[in-house]
């Protein structure tokens, strides 16, 4: 079984899915990520799916689960690089990927994670009115 590598860049874990994942590989990635978040104490996870030519309901569910798990572990997940054809297909399939934040590319994903973390610090400083408004609408 193939394993998807997880890279650590600063405070962010970067997962770039380059293979056509079997369901087992997807489940393995989910487990590996949870462990790495705890081990590294990172506060951001970026999952790059630029290379994926399809996202079916199984992978969609995996992405949602990863987002929920990392939330519990105090990390923000952003899915980046979804191809137009994949997005159109997901809409038709009826999969809305609720609770997942998305960005066009890795760079914008990193900005999004940084902005969210900054808001969290602002919120800690007692200035919590900006916390929601600066997040992507």
């Amino acid at each position: 079984m193939e394993r998807v590598p997880i890279l650590k860049i600063g405070d962010i874990l970067l997962v770039s899915i380059q293979v056509d994942m079997s369901d087992q590989t997807a489940i393995q990635l989910q487990e590996d990520l949870a462990e790495r978040i705890v081990a590294t104490g990172c506060h951001g996870v970026i999952i790059d799916i630029t290379a994926l030519d399809i996202v079916d309901s199984f992978v969609g569910r995996m992405l949602s689960t990863i987002a929920s798990i990392s939330k519990v572990l105090d990390a923000e997940t952003v899915v980046v690089g979804m191809r137009p054809a994949v997005a159109i297909t997901l809409v038709e399939l009826g999969l809305s990927l609720n609770g997942i934040r998305t960005a066009l590319n890795v760079e914008r994903g990193m900005e999004l994670v940084a902005a969210t973390r900054a808001d969290d610090w602002d919120a800690l400083d007692g200035d919590d009115e900006d916390a929601e408004t600066t997040a992507t609408p």
Binding site: R83, A87, I88, T102, R108
Partner: protein
């Protein structure tokens, strides 16, 4: 009635022995039907080419146009009808160019009557009919190709995606949106978002005469797909009547931002991205 190889040979002989007279009479008949819309020289050339390939085919023992011997003749016929279709001649005018040879042949054969003349003429005639039908089909195929090309060009023409600002693209939709066009617009808009890395898109529907449930569905799907990719869409240019239709049809735009004009939409996006747009001193324009 199918033509025998012998008859085919006789046809070739007949055609080659009276070349000048035949082509002249043939050209004359065609010219009359085209009423001078094609130059005499070009017409003459086409008739002589057709004449020559009929002789060649006959010498090879052609009995049916679909035969392998008919390859060259078919090519000549196809070229003729393609040209006619492009030049705007009608299908009948194109077919007459082929059928006209019958008159010329009949005159010739009447003068040299023999026992099997009638039988021969019926067989020749059957081949010429096949040729005529083939011309007709090529003609239709060419026209269909032209129509398909134009439809595609129209699609390209009518769906521009323009970059308005750093990180902001817009699609001004003009004309009626059908399912095929909406799909093209959707794909092109999403691809542009990726190519330019723009997180904002404005869909301007000022030029759309009417919005029905289906069009609204397409727009909504585009917006949801863009969100999945990490981009936001704003819909602008909703005219009063369209707003009424949308409400009457019970279409939910949900939390999708809608603005009255493209300018409003752009101002909204720029505010979101943090670009300062409000002029410090309100400017008055006369």
């Amino acid at each position: 009635m199918a033509m025998s190889a012998e008859q085919s040979g006789r046809l070739a002989r007949l055609l080659s022995e009276h070349t000048d007279r035949l082509t002249e009479r043939w050209t004359e008949t065609v010219a009359a039907s085209l009423r001078g819309r094609l130059s005499q020289a070009e017409l003459g050339r086409q008739v002589r080419e057709l004449h020559r390939s009929m002789i060649d085919a006959g010498r090879n023992g052609l009995t049916d146009l679909a035969d392998e011997h008919g390859g060259e003749l078919r090519a000549v016929l196809a070229e003729l009808s393609t040209n006619r279709a492009r030049q705007g001649f009608s299908a009948s005018e194109t077919a007459i160019s082929v059928f006209a040879v019958k008159d010329a042949l009949l005159e010739l054969m009447e003068e040299n009557k023999a026992d099997d003349t009638l039988r021969d003429f019926v067989a020749f005639s059957a081949l010429i009919d096949q040729m005529g039908l083939f011309t007709f089909e090529s003609y239709v195929r060419t026209r269909e190709g032209l129509i398909a090309d134009q439809a595609e060009q129209l699609l390209e023409l009518s769906t521009p995606v323009v970059k308005l600002w750093e990180g902001v693209v817009a699609v001004p939709l003009v004309g009626t949106l059908d399912s095929a066009r909406a799909q093209v617009v959707m794909e092109r808009l999403l691809q542009t978002l990726v190519d330019t890395g723009s997180p904002y898109a404005i869909i301007d529907i000022t030029g759309v005469p009417a919005v029905d449930t289906q069009v609204a569905q397409h727009i909504l799907k585009t917006v949801v797909a863009a969100r999945l990719m990490g981009a936001d869409c704003i819909i602008s240019g909703i005219r009063p009547q369209i707003a009424q239709t949308i409400v009457a049809l019970g279409i939910e735009f949900g939390d999708i931002a809608t603005k009255a004009s493209l300018a409003d939409a752009l101002r909204h996006v720029l505010r979101l991205t943090g670009v300062e747009t409000t002029a410090r001193r309100p400017r008055r324009e006369s």
